[in-house]
């Protein structure tokens, strides 16, 4: 449930606003919903990774991989799959730590 909520709300936030809104979404939802530090980090990490990888993959397919190959070359990555993985990791790590921070802040205020 939390996983789905993070995906939906952070997708909306990033569609209209800057990328870092997703950190606020993860923070707020984990503050509200998460039960354990591991799951706060894990769910937020997975949700953002899913979203970023999913959307990047969608963009990549409709573009038939033209730009991903070129950007991978610029970053000296061997192929576009790795580029998509890096995309997912960057988003996931920020999302995960934001979720964790949300959980710990609730604990601190409880």
């Amino acid at each position: 449930m939390l996983y789905i909520l993070i995906i939906v709300l952070s997708a909306i936030a990033q569609f209209f606003g800057p990328w870092w809104l997703m950190a606020i979404v993860c923070f707020a939802l984990c503050f509200w919903k998460s039960s354990k530090p591991v799951s706060a980090f894990g769910v937020a990490f997975l949700a953002i990774t899913t979203l970023w990888i999913g959307f990047a993959t969608f963009q990549n397919i409709s573009n038939e991989g033209i730009i991903s190959q070129k950007i991978a070359d610029i970053f000296k990555l061997p192929n576009a799959f790795l580029l998509i993985t890096v995309t997912g990791l960057i988003g996931g790590i920020v999302g995960g730590f934001s979720g964790l921070a949300g959980y710990y802040c609730r604990k601190a205020l409880a």
């Binding site: 990033q14 990328w19 950190a23 921070a101 710990y104």
Partner: protein, 815 residues
């Protein structure tokens, strides 16, 4: 503990956001860049992308319709001219905003603001060339004429209407990687783009190297080895054409500068291949009975391409062609009645003056028997990654800037230190927007000639054809009225007679209309033979392309679009025809070459620079080596202290054929031996094969074929972004071949127009694509077709109501 955890985790998040939200050295901020909702994934343009059906834009007076054909070419239908140029700016910015912004930054000397210290010396050079001052002068002229003012302002408003809609996710990928934002457009920026052209076409000079040679050998020898007109030539204006004007007085040749030039500099390769072909065939020689016109401007091949195709329609105009991003109007193209094209004239419009300072303080310089003050200007530079503003002081004489003071290192090695520069770029004014406005609407020969006063710089050979069966060509532009050989060598900055004093009257620049031979053409060769009353320069592009074009056209009857297209792709090597038989005879005297594979291939070569010919590879590399082997000892082009110009290939071949015992063949670096012409030819041939083998392995088609060895590369405008470039474009041609495709230069637009009484047919393409986005299929979709020598049929709509099968999308721009 629980507070600590909370604070710690918040600190990690804050740290991550901080680090990911700012650029890391040369890398972009990773957070926004990788975020698929805003970063580079947004530049992954869908193959099924369709233009929006309507857009509302503030600034329009009426509705504008933009139709897109299947090649991504916009066809703009406006109800008035203000809206037309507004829409042109808007539509162009959609596809090429970053590129036009980039050009304007180059000319403004502001590239290091966004690229960092790497670009600083380039910026300093461009400021010293006075590109910004030249642009201000152009912009001022634009504002004085109500038509050009309207065009420049409407266009800028259109570009800005696009910029105003953008957020980070819409930015071109180059903005995202380099981490900066588009700046508002203005008429001044349009003028800056024009200055880039002036620089590319005109800003090179041999003066310094020629002066070094003069001081070593004296005038008589220089006259012999560097003559003012080639042995073989086929000038733009046919030999024998009568000049139907009374020339103004040409200044007398004053006393020449005798002092040897003693500043240091080193020199690199020769001028790059800025050249072009164009021609028009009279109806008497075509299948339709009406003219055909062809043009292929050769420029540095780049991505995004220098050109953008468009059709512009308003109640006053219906024109199709290509424009340079940032420069309103259609630059090369056609309308219902006429077609026109351009090549660079390449006359000598870039001269250095030796300056005699009064004393070591360098505050005054000698002029006309007295002393004049040197003025100083301080250029300021913001550099990416550095908080402080850098300064660069440039000293000026009335001739122009002293390009580099003693002790400074020139950006280009052919700029002499301590010399002042006069060149056409910052001084010629003109009004190119007005010229394009008029020619876009031109109906006949008189309309064509009427644009001449507005064309200043760069000077172009403007070819013309009309459906009234007129053909013509004019070397149009502001050309300084010079005494003979003025600027062949470094000029005397203290002698007023050495100054540029006037321009050749515009109506007296070389031109010809409907010549007897039934065609006109240009390929950057001499505009006219020595009967022309004015001195334009002692050296133009080698004659071979012009010779070949004129031969082919002279033998052509019932010419068609396809015969002209084939001509544009002609790979015949006129230079090889001229010199190879003699060279082969010499090689045949060496028994060790009897069964040499390279020699056999060359002997059987069909004299065409086709991509699958090994002979072309050997010949092209060899003639380069051979010329160096003959001359480098006498005229050391690579000498860091006193570099000299190598005599031309034309002069070299004439000497080999007519003066085989000339002293120049002896290599004076071998004091105990006197080499003959034959020895130089044979040893340079063997050396060429050795160096080719070192590079490409043993002779075989997979690595030695011309199309592969040449390796034509189309680079992105930022050389660092090699992933956005295309290498290994398989194509024939060469510098002195009609198909002038070299390693990094070549036909940047090919066009053939068949004039017609009712509606013309036209064909064309360029080595790139309409989109500037490396993530679009329209980024480079024309390259393969271009390499094969094919052309697209251009969609020239009669009106907005015409139904055309190639129109695939339509956008309504509402006010």
């Amino acid at each position: 503990m629980k507070y600590l955890r909370a604070l710690l985790s918040l600190a990690v998040v804050a740290g991550l956001l901080f680090v990911l939200n700012r650029p890391l050295g040369p890398a972009p901020a990773l957070g926004p860049f990788f975020n698929p909702f805003s970063g580079f994934w947004q530049n992954a343009e869908s193959h099924n992308k369709s233009a929006p059906s309507q857009l509302t834009l503030t600034g329009l007076k009426n509705e504008v319709i933009v139709k897109y054909d299947d090649n991504g070419v916009p066809h703009i239908f406006a109800q008035n001219d203000e809206d037309l140029y507004f829409a042109q700016g808007y539509v162009l910015a959609q596809d090429r905003l970053w590129q036009m912004d980039f050009y304007s930054r180059v000319a403004a000397g502001r590239l290091s603001e966004v690229m960092g210290p790497l670009a600083l010396d380039f910026d300093k050079y461009n400021r010293r060339l006075q590109l910004p001052e030249g642009a201000e002068k152009i912009a001022e002229a634009l504002m004085h004429d109500p038509t050009s003012k309207m065009i420049a302002e409407s266009y800028a408003a259109g570009v800005n209407a696009y910029i105003d809609q953008l957020t980070y996710k819409d930015y071109a990928i180059e903005y995202k990687i380099l981490g900066y934002k588009p700046e508002a457009w203005s008429p001044l920026k349009t003028a800056l783009v024009e200055m880039v052209m002036r620089k590319d076409m005109n800003a090179r000079s041999d003066d310094y190297m020629m002066s070094n040679a003069l001081s070593k050998y004296g005038k008589a020898t220089i006259d012999d080895v560097f003559p003012d007109y080639p042995v073989e030539e086929s000038p733009v204006v046919p030999v024998g054409t009568k000049w139907d004007f009374v020339p103004v007085a040409v200044p007398k040749v004053p006393e020449m500068l005798q002092a040897s030039v003693n500043t240091r500099l080193s020199i690199e390769a020769e001028n790059p291949g800025i050249g072009s072909n164009n021609w028009a065939v009279h109806g008497s020689r075509t299948a339709t009975g009406l003219p055909l016109l062809a043009n292929d401007p050769h420029l540095g091949l780049s991505l995004p391409s220098i050109w953008y195709q468009m059709q512009l329609v308003s109640p006053s105009v219906n024109v199709y062609g290509v424009c340079v991003p940032g420069w309103p109007g259609i630059g090369i193209g056609f309308n219902k009645d006429i077609a026109w094209g351009m090549t660079n004239v390449g006359s000598d419009v870039f001269d250095f003056y030796q300056i005699k300072f009064k004393d070591a303080s360098r505050k005054e310089y000698q002029y006309d028997g007295g002393w004049r003050p040197v003025t100083a200007k301080i250029n300021e530079f913001k550099v990416k990654g550095s908080a402080s503003i850098l300064h660069d002081t440039v000293h000026y004489t009335h001739h122009g800037p002293i390009m580099y003071d003693e002790g400074q290192k020139p950006f280009f090695n052919d700029t002499p230190v301590g010399h002042a520069l006069t060149w056409v770029g910052p001084v010629a004014q003109g009004n190119s927007l007005k010229a394009l406005y008029l020619i876009n609407r031109g109906k006949n020969y008189e309309d064509y000639r009427a644009i001449l006063p507005f064309l200043a710089s760069p000077a172009f050979n403007v070819v013309f054809a009309s459906n009234q069966n007129d053909i013509a060509i004019t070397s149009a532009g502001h050309l300084p009225l010079k005494w003979k050989e003025q600027g062949k060598f470094i000029l005397d900055g203290s002698n007023p007679l050495h100054d540029w004093r006037a321009w050749i009257p515009v109506e007296q620049t070389p031109y010809v209309r409907n010549p007897q031979r039934g065609f006109v053409s240009s390929a950057n060769q001499f505009p006219a033979d020595l009967t022309y009353p004015y001195y334009l320069g002692w050296k133009f592009a080698p004659a071979e392309r012009g010779i070949r074009i004129n031969e082919m056209l002279a033998s052509m009857q019932k010419a068609t679009v396809d015969s002209l297209r084939l001509m544009q792709n002609d790979n015949f090597n006129v230079e090889a025809r001229r010199i190879l038989p003699d060279l082969l005879k010499i090689l045949a005297t060496d028994p060790s070459l009897k069964s040499n594979k390279g020699y056999e291939i060359l002997a059987k070569w069909n004299l065409k620079n086709d991509p699958d010919q090994i002979g072309a590879t050997i010949f092209e590399r060899w003639v380069r080596e051979l010329r160096l082997a003959i001359w480098e000892d006498d005229f050391p082009s690579q000498d860091p202290k006193k570099p000299m110009l190598l005599p031309t290939r034309d002069r070299t071949w004439a000497m080999l054929q007519k003066q085989p015992t000339a002293k120049w063949f002896d290599d004076n670096r071998t004091p105990n031996k006197v080499e003959t012409a034959n020895e130089i030819v044979i040893t340079s041939f063997k050396a060429t094969l050795d160096s080719l083998a070192a590079k490409h392995g043993p002779i075989n088609p997979a690595t030695w074929n011309w199309g592969i060895a040449k390796n034509t590369t189309i680079k992105h405008l930022v050389p660092l972004f090699s992933a956005f470039s295309r290498t290994g474009v398989y194509n024939g041609g060469g510098g002195n071949i009609v198909n002038a495709t070299k390693e990094g230069h070549g036909p940047s637009w090919r066009m053939v127009v068949e004039l017609d009484k009712s509606w013309p047919k036209a064909y064309g393409l360029y080595p790139g694509g309409q989109s500037g986005n490396p993530g679009s299929i329209f980024y480079d979709n024309m390259i393969d077709k271009w390499a094969k020598g094919e052309l697209n049929e251009l969609v020239f709509l009669k009106s907005k109501d015409e139904k055309h099968p190639k129109i695939v999308a339509e956008t309504l721009l509402k006010k």
